[in-house]
């Protein structure tokens, strides 16, 4: 886990000389099991690798040799120390192999790709992060960025929904956050279990009474598409302008650089025009079924 001081530099990455579709070989430094189906991989990158220059919200293409690759958002890391982290949930062929990697294993990486959260646009106002499930992973570097300059923001609110109480990512870090007085953290589980004394329900329900001023809020939302749609709608209903609500879209991505065509959503190439887009752009595209 990165300490809060180890922040990515928000510099544009230079394209590697071999071309955008040729991956680099990187090594697994540490593996941290987050939940029964999710691990965080800390990857050791060579000095000067463009993926060290990621901006929160961007993603890399990852995969072991010979297995294909998948887009995985950067979830943190210590770029100054030469590592970046990716939090991977085992949902398919490549992610299963990624979740089974051990320290010292090598894999292939391309990136960083896509647009960023640009949390600094929230300076001077409230920042509300709303995460559903694995959606906390892409938001984590943005949260760390905000906390590293905590005095430049007003309220900092993290609303986090998981399927069950045990599906919590970054649990030790969230425990530390809970003890901070300058951060509001609300966690809710879709389904309770015996002994769970926390909140039960969907994360959207937390938006209504969370402490933020809609007029000064920048909201960053990441989770399943239906969760983002309902959350963004709830935020807009509370008065946050749609242009100040940002979501991270997910579509099939094979190249990450706008060439393969798979991620298209209306006029967007989600890999290069996204994954982070503002809600005023995303909303009209997502209302059309199967767009």
């Amino acid at each position: 886990m990165a300490s809060l001081a180890e922040l990515p530099r928000a510099a544009a990455a230079a394209a590697p000389a071999a071309g955008p579709l040729v991956p680099r070989v990187v090594r697994v430094e540490r593996v941290h099991r987050e939940t029964r189906d999710t691990v965080t991989l800390a990857l050791r990158l060579p000095p000067g690798d463009p993926a060290l220059e990621y901006r929160p919200g961007q993603f890399d293409m990852l995969g072991p040799l010979g297995t294909g690759e998948v887009p995985i958002s950067v979830s943190g890391g210590a770029p100054a120390a030469g590592t970046v982290e990716h939090t991977v949930r085992d949902v398919g062929g490549v992610t299963r192999l990624l979740c089974g990697l051990r320290p010292g294993d090598e894999l292939l990486l391309r990136g960083p790709y896509g647009t960023a959260w640009d949390a600094e646009d929230g300076v001077g106002g409230d920042v509300v992060l709303v995460a559903g499930g694995i959606g906390l992973a892409p938001l984590r570097p943005a949260l760390l960025q905000v906390l590293a300059a905590r005095d430049r923001y007003r309220n900092v609110v993290l609303l986090y929904g998981t399927r069950t109480p045990r599906d919590l990512l970054f649990s030790r870090e969230l425990d530390r956050l809970r003890r901070r007085r300058d951060v509001v953290l609300e966690h809710t589980a879709d389904y309770a279990e015996a002994g769970w004394r926390g909140r039960v329900g969907v994360v959207t329900d937390l938006v209504g009474r969370a402490p933020f001023d809609p007029g000064t809020t920048l909201a960053l939302v990441c989770g399943p598409e239906v969760m983002m749609r309902l959350t963004a709608t709830a935020l807009v209903d509370r008065g946050v302008p749609a242009s100040r609500v940002r979501v991270s879209l997910e579509r099939a991505m094979l190249c990450g650089v706008g060439l393969c065509g798979h991620c298209q959503l209306g006029p967007l190439f989600v890999c290069t025009d996204g994954p982070v887009v503002s809600w005023d752009t995303a909303a009209p595209l997502l209302v059309i079924r199967e767009r």
């Binding site: 394209a15 991956p23 290069t272």
Partner: protein, 384 residues
């Protein structure tokens, strides 16, 4: 075609041009009769051209037929576009292996692209296909991420365009503003004239084309030659099998995403992807990863893909576009509307291939007309 530099090349001297193109080992590719179609193949002399052949095309129909005259370029377009040369269906992206001796146990390297980069001359490029090459240049070269294989293939290409004098029933380049005469993007533009002496009007469109032209045994075009060329273009426009008023289409389609016509066309569409394969601008690709039996070496290959396959939009949990309705809508709205948002031009050049090669005869111009109420004129439509 600029009027001030028009020359005339006798058909008997055509091989001088072919030899000039082939100089230095350059591969000359042009139209050849093969497998019952006019395809793209090596051309060593005018004898390789489809002399005296034409193509008859309608929705779902293509036939080569003998012509009454001996025209060498007396056809419209074959199933292959130049995409098959400049953006082939398969291209190696990289290969890698375990067991390296360097810093890493795994090593990955970009392929040798010298074969892809071989100098080529494209002979007989139609204006629609010329426009398509321009569009692929924007898509594959004109943005921050460049397709390395396309860049290699595109680096040294001489384009010899030929005015389309005999459009097919499925053609609508005149309405798309892309033909039938080549306007830009060529080194040399030819117009084949069959009245009297069999000859070609020749115009240069680049310094390289001008140098080629200067070395040919040509004479200055006379008024009669120019008039014959203009008449050919005019008669070609008049014979254009279809027409699509494209102007209002991009905006109108934006407002037609839930039109009942999508259900109508989905009931006919087989979701086979033929249209995307023959389309000269469709650029979507998938990747194939191959390994040896023990997984010690691997290679990744870029292959043409089609937005009509169920796997195209697959993310964990299922495909975004489950239905043929949504897949046809994606293809047509991308081609005619969102392509404009992305690249400043429609992705359609009016070549008509998607109409000809659709196994159930779905006609893009007809579907667009039904969706947006655009004027669709099909003088050669045959009820079938």
């Amino acid at each position: 075609m600029s009027a001030d530099r028009l020359e005339v090349l006798a058909a008997d001297d055509f091989d001088v041009l072919v030899r000039a193109l082939a100089e230095g080992g350059r591969e000359v590719l042009g139209p050849v009769l093969r497998d019952g179609v006019i395809a793209i193949g090596p051309v060593e002399s005018a004898a390789d051209l489809p002399q005296g052949w034409t193509d008859e095309q309608e929705r779902g129909t293509y036939r080569v037929q003998p012509r009454a005259d001996a025209a060498w370029f007396g056809y419209a377009v074959g199933p292959q576009s130049w995409k098959s040369v400049l953006f082939p269906a398969r291209a190696l992206l990289w290969s890698g292996a375990k067991g390296g001796v360097g810093e890493h146990g795994v090593e990955v390297s970009a392929p040798d692209r010298s074969a892809a980069a071989r100098p080529r001359a494209l002979l007989g490029v139609r204006s629609c296909d010329l426009a398509a090459i321009g569009i692929q240049d924007r898509v594959l070269l004109g943005r921050p991420a460049v397709d390395a294989d396309y860049a290699a293939r595109r680096a040294d290409v001489i384009v010899v365009a030929v005015t389309c004098g005999f459009p097919a029933g499925t053609c609508f380049c005149a309405s798309m503003g892309t033909g039938p005469a080549p306007r830009t993007g060529y080194d040399l533009a030819l117009t084949e004239l069959l009245d009297g002496e069999h000859r070609f009007l020749v115009a240069a469109g680049s310094p390289r084309g001008a140098a080629l032209l200067a070395a040919l045994p040509t004479r200055v075009a006379e008024d009669a030659d120019r008039v014959a060329g203009e008449q050919l273009v005019a008669s070609s426009v008049a014979r254009m099998g279809r027409w699509l008023d494209v102007g209002p289409v991009p905006a109108a389609l934006r407002g037609a995403l839930e039109h009942p016509r999508w259900d109508d066309v989905a009931a006919r569409c087989l979701s086979c992807g033929s249209c995307t394969l023959v389309c000269p601008t469709c650029f979507c690709t998938a990747v194939e990863e191959t390994t040896d039996l023990v997984g010690a070496s691997a290679a990744r290959t870029r292959v043409w893909d089609s937005c009509f396959t169920p796997g195209f939009s697959y993310i964990h949990g299922g495909a975004v576009r489950q239905t043929t309705r949504s897949r046809y809508r994606q293809w047509l709205t991308h081609k005619m509307s969102t392509w404009v948002d992305q690249f400043g031009t429609p992705g359609c050049v009016g070549c008509g291939r998607c109409i000809t090669w659709c196994p159930v005869g779905i006609d893009l111009t007809e579907e667009v007309g039904a969706l947006v109420g655009a004027h669709v004129d099909e003088p050669q439509r045959q009820d079938r």
